[in-house]
Amino acid sequence: MIALLQVPDAPSAIDSVLLLLYVAAGALFIFGLRGLGSPRTARRGNQIAAAGMVLAILVTLYYVFDRSRTDDLSVLWWVIVAGLAIGGAVGALLALRVQMTAMPELVAAFNGFGGGASALVAFAAIVATDTVVATNTPYATETEITVGLSIAIGVVTFSGSFVAYGKLQGVITGRPVALPGGPYFNLVLAILMTAASVWAIVANEPLGYWILAGIALVLGVTGVLPIGGADMPVVISLLNSLSGVAASMAGFVIGNQGLIIAGALVGAAGFILTVQMSEAMNRSLSNVLFAGFGTEGAGPIDAGDKPVNSATPEDVAISLNYAQTVLVVPGYGLAVAQAQHAVRELATALEERDVTVEYAIHPVAGRMPGHMNVLLAEADVPYDVLLDLDHSNPKFPNTDVVLVVGANDVVNPSARDDSGSPIFGMPILEVDRAATTVVIKRSLSPGFAGIDNPLFYLPSTMMLFSDAKGAIEHVTEALLEL
């Protein structure tokens, strides 16, 4: 009843060669992924993977063309060409236009499209009638299971990715949204999906797949909503792994091992990457997915009557003017305020006065891995003044002024000193060891981890309460007037 777009039963010689070419594309993906894992080879790696994709596409086009000749099947070339043209234009436009800071959400969107495509391929296999398919394997239960998996995983990836997109764009609240029934809500959805698939398969009822897709659409949303906005990079990576699995399942549906191999590869590699991303934040993957961490935006911590040294831009300008060495610690707030260019200008002004300015970059500063590097690169900060964790920490004790711009958790001494703190054990930038520390943020509000920061109450700390961009610009002005 369900006709499948599978390859003919007795593969011809040409099919064998095509399969080997798909394997070659898979090898290019492997080399590409390996290259992407190390800084020196990353860009080349991405290009190698892209070459693999071009190969896979050409092989497929040839396959379609060849089968149309030998089996005398008419091919809807216009659909293929239109799809390539529209998709290519949209994809290229988005990729080339996007602001560097909006990259994670764009990746989420792309990934959503990929998952959706896998589900659509499975649906296409369902609605295809026997006239278009060659002599075929009798429609088998195991293939139907992969149809269901392809739809379920693909659609969850689709809707989940767009919720992640919304959270990062700020269209949807970044706060964890509690579901009625908590995690059980999603468990129930998963059970319903299983039931729909079983019905579809046992009763030979395509409607079941559409119902499955409907529930999966909901599960994608309710699966991601309870996760804090700042954890979205991890979620996107996980959804990316899922879209690999969906592609693989689609490969089973249409009997194409090229899809199976590449999909499985990305599924597994993406999963390992997801785990590594969680570990870089000192958390487990299940903590990210189910703990509703990230109460960002929670009201200001009750600081009691602990005194803070509040400073004006002029005060800050004066201490900078007398400094010989300045270390800038950028954080999420710098990204939000888009203050990277302002910081760069301040640094130029300082360098003209023979002050040495360097940047201390914490690996998880900001909201995506590498966030700060990308931002500062965008503002043309030269790379040799970007110090990583290991190279910055020994410098703080000998630094005259540390300028913390919109960073909070990554400079929180509790992570080092207070074994009861939720972030205890996370490596930090030890700015509290410097002679003077200036912290620029709008209030005493906590950062991503939602906890108070003893740094703010140290005698050596000056707090400049303001939006990061405006504050830095004021400091630069004040400096130039000195």
């Binding site: 777009l5 992924l33 992407l36 990353a42 892209a50 296409a124 394997t137 690996p363």
Partner: protein, 98 residues
């Protein structure tokens, strides 16, 4: 289970092992580009989309095929381009600081 299906499982398992092994400890700075690059590769489903589009018959099938093509192509083209842009920025970073 058909032999083709079993054979599919075999290559699935082997490819998954390769995927697990190929990502060793990656420096956190590269997590975002690696995620983005892997995302582009998962656009391999474009292979399925081409086949689905080619043999579509009937309005519904054509709509499904066209949508699949558009979605998959966005993923592939956008994915590789945005990764490249990102890595272009990273290139300015030192390789390894000693």
């Amino acid at each position: 289970m058909s032999p083709e299906f079993i054979q599919g499982i075999v290559v699935f398992v082997l490819a998954a092992f390769v995927g697990f092994e190929v990502i060793s400890k990656v420096p956190p700075t590269l997590h975002t580009p690696l995620m983005s690059g892997a995302n582009a590769i998962s656009g391999i489903t474009i292979v399925g989309a081409i086949i689905a589009a080619a043999y579509a018959d009937g309005a519904l099938a054509i709509i499904l095929g066209l949508l699949a093509m558009v979605f998959a192509t966005i993923n592939v083209v956008g994915g590789f381009l945005v990764t490249d842009r990102m890595l272009e920025m990273f290139k300015k970073k030192p390789v390894v600081k000693k």
